[in-house]
Symmetry: C2
Subunit: 190 residues, 2 copies
């Protein structure tokens, strides 16, 4: 089994916080889909779930994936389709979680991420070793907007340590995904 194939990524558009800490559904961003799919393919992930309950957004993601996998984009740049083949759309976190559980005989653990420290967070090295054991799947959730809700964090099996910046913790979700995948699956001997 390839390293990374027991790791699944979830890009959460609902439920998340907005600027005023109200719970909202955010719009899907085309750049997010491409960047996350390309990262997921680079690190050999099992899959990448775009989570949105909005029917128009579900269709948008399906249209993007179709364009690059089978439409005009497939001829223009085949490497995009190769990465976008990892994209799945789910209406809820639970729906995606059930799909992974079905593939892994129920053995899937949810990992929440965020920019703020949390008293019970798990470090990158520990989660890296868990993934390397390959005995179960991990579903790592990234919030768009102002991040995952408290409820989602509390329902996760683990909360991953934040990326510590020099007094600034406002990375884009695209950058956070790239850095976290490299810390969990990249070559640490470099």
């Amino acid at each position: 089994m390839e390293t990374g194939s027991n790791l699944y990524l979830g890009l959460v558009h609902y439920p998340i916080y907005d600027k005023r800490r109200e719970i909202v559904a955010s719009a899907v961003t085309n750049f997010d889909i491409h960047d996350l799919a390309r990262c997921a393919r680079t690190y050999g992930l099992g899959g990448c779930f775009v989570i949105t309950p909005l029917e128009s957004q579900v269709q948008l993601v399906e249209r993007i994936v179709h364009h690059w996998m089978e439409g005009a984009g497939a001829a223009y740049n085949p490497t995009r389709g190769e990465s976008l083949s990892l994209i799945r759309v789910s209406r809820t976190i639970e729906e995606a979680d059930r799909e992974i559980a079905r593939l892994w005989g129920g053995k899937v653990e949810k990992v929440a991420t965020g920019a703020s420290p949390h008293p019970n967070s798990i470090g990158f090295g520990v989660l890296r070793r868990f993934i390397e054991e390959k005995s179960r799947a991990f579903f790592i959730l990234f919030g768009t907007g102002w991040g995952l809700t408290q409820e989602v964090k509390e329902s996760a099996d683990y909360i991953l340590s934040p990326i510590e910046g020099q007094g600034y913790n406002h990375l884009s979700v695209r950058s956070a995904v790239a850095i976290i995948l490299d810390r969990l699956l990249g070559d640490r001997t470099l």
Copy 2:
């Protein structure tokens, strides 16, 4: 001196290759500016140069930066202005290089990046140690489009090893910047 303050990032829109390996100028992407500025601020970089010879693109970058530093964006989300204050626009790589050289008494070395292996490339660990010495500045160049030209690579003091994916080397420039900054400046003991 803070770690990272002797590292400068250059996002090159000319000269770069297009899909057909012709040398072109690419258009500035709003997401790139934000994502790179936020990464640069997170890792405490000295600055981030957007390199484009096109006057319309120079003005576009200046408008984006102004919007978030002093315009309506500054009130809406002050953390964006904090990161975008690191953005400078230069017409050429040489112009940016001269600006860094002026700040560092001439001691600046150029580092080219790319997705393909190169026989004389420098590893992440070696460049990391060079940066930690803090005796000189490093100007790390990222190509948009299909990457930096051969000429730019050959004129650099170093060529950084590529990020090795599992048989797939097509990360976005946004993801590559995030991963490379974390490898050069992030906590490697995690």
